[in-house]
Symmetry: C2
Subunit: 233 residues, 2 copies
């Protein structure tokens, strides 16, 4: 009997926005792995906590998210070795991943290190879908284009991409908020855009972008906006 | 006590890829609404069937998906009136929506007709996430851009948009398959691209795009591909 690497999407934050399959596979795994920024609790584990049976073997790996990638790479390398050993013993290893494992998920870095293992991935609700649902904000209809654009790509690249889609979720806004707000203002889109912070969690805050006074946005926030749909640019 | 309009994302096809919240709200609704193309069973209802209690009041509305939009618009108008009446009686009305209600979902057309009703939307796993999970195909990492692009926008617009994202799910491929394949071939991307038909259902078929012999793709299929990321175009 062979074990598997399981990538479990835990969704955006609300423990009820977890799929039945995510719950079942996590409950029957031989080892549950969570990842956390060092000094902080794992967000994915917090979401799954109500669904974890007592006594399930668990490890939480802390990642030092500082500017030096070497430490993070070493942590992934070691975790990949540990997972490989556990799978070789015939156990399923469930890696808990906030949102969707394959859309900006840390799970991708494990998958790249373990391409030969049997793998099963459970998709999860990602934050753009969660924010849209909470705001009753249609993402796309008909032949429209929708994109997920990290603000970290830089404002020039963001401008170019946003000009050619009909709607977008701009993620990883953080310190890029003033530049994002200026860009959307220039195009007359700021009035309609929304800033969504931690949608579906207890810390949720969804406000019109124009009404948000801060100069930076929290890391776990995104902007829902229309794009220009190719009308310019 | 006031009723609510509930938009329930049922996910891509596997009844286990439904969220706990979707199951709970559907079970306690006073009326469950499904939409279907005329003459066919509702896909969203089939997904939720294992979770529906016996005896729950249900209606299924058939939409004539022919070239004449008038009949479809009238069907939405009538359904909106029926939902409004039921909500006014204090009942929750759960509208079942395949995938995510707000990403190319028919639910959007009901929402537009009922902007004043109390609404709760449960996000669902959309088909790009489902196909990526089944193929272990990372959608995006770091500062990359990911887009959902309907092939129905036409090949010139598709070319322009795909040139500026790093990865995309091209949906509604259908009869546009030859044009999509030619475009990706021109850019040297066809070899890596995947055609995913009805991912997570019993009819699932995921094949390299180059290995797919058909001249058209089924309606419920999509292509996962890299884009040019702004390198050209």
């Amino acid at each position: 009997m062979s074990g598997r690497l399981l990538g479990i999407g835990t969704g955006p934050g609300d423990p009820e926005l977890v799929t039945l399959k995510a719950v079942r596979l996590t409950r029957t795994a031989g080892l549950v792995v969570s990842l956390a920024a060092s000094g902080r609790p794992s967000r994915a584990r917090r979401i799954m906590a109500p669904h974890l049976p007592t006594g399930v073997p668990e490890i939480t790996v802390e990642l030092d998210m500082g500017p030096d990638r070497t430490a993070v790479d070493r942590a992934y390398d070691q975790l990949a070795l540990d997972i490989r050993a556990e799978v070789a013993r015939g156990h399923d290893v469930a890696v808990l991943c906030e949102g969707d494992p394959l859309l900006f998920g840390t799970f991708i870095y494990l998958l790249q290190r373990l391409p030969d293992l049997p793998v099963e991935i459970v998709p999860g609700i990602s934050s753009p879908h969660a924010a849209a649902a909470r705001a009753a904000w249609p993402l796309a209809t008909g032949d429209r284009a929708f994109a997920v654009l990290p603000a970290t790509m830089g404002i020039d690249r963001l401008r170019e991409r946003l000009a050619r889609v009909d709607a977008a979720a701009i993620i990883k806004v953080g310190s890029h908020l003033p530049a994002v707000r200026a860009l959307l203002g220039e195009w007359g889109l700021a009035g309609e855009a929304l800033l969504a912070v931690q949608a579906t969690t207890e810390a949720e805050a969804i406000t019109p972008l124009g009404a948000y006074a801060g100069e930076t946005a929290p890391y776990f926030s995104l902007v829902l906006t229309r794009g220009l749909g190719g009308a310019r640019g």
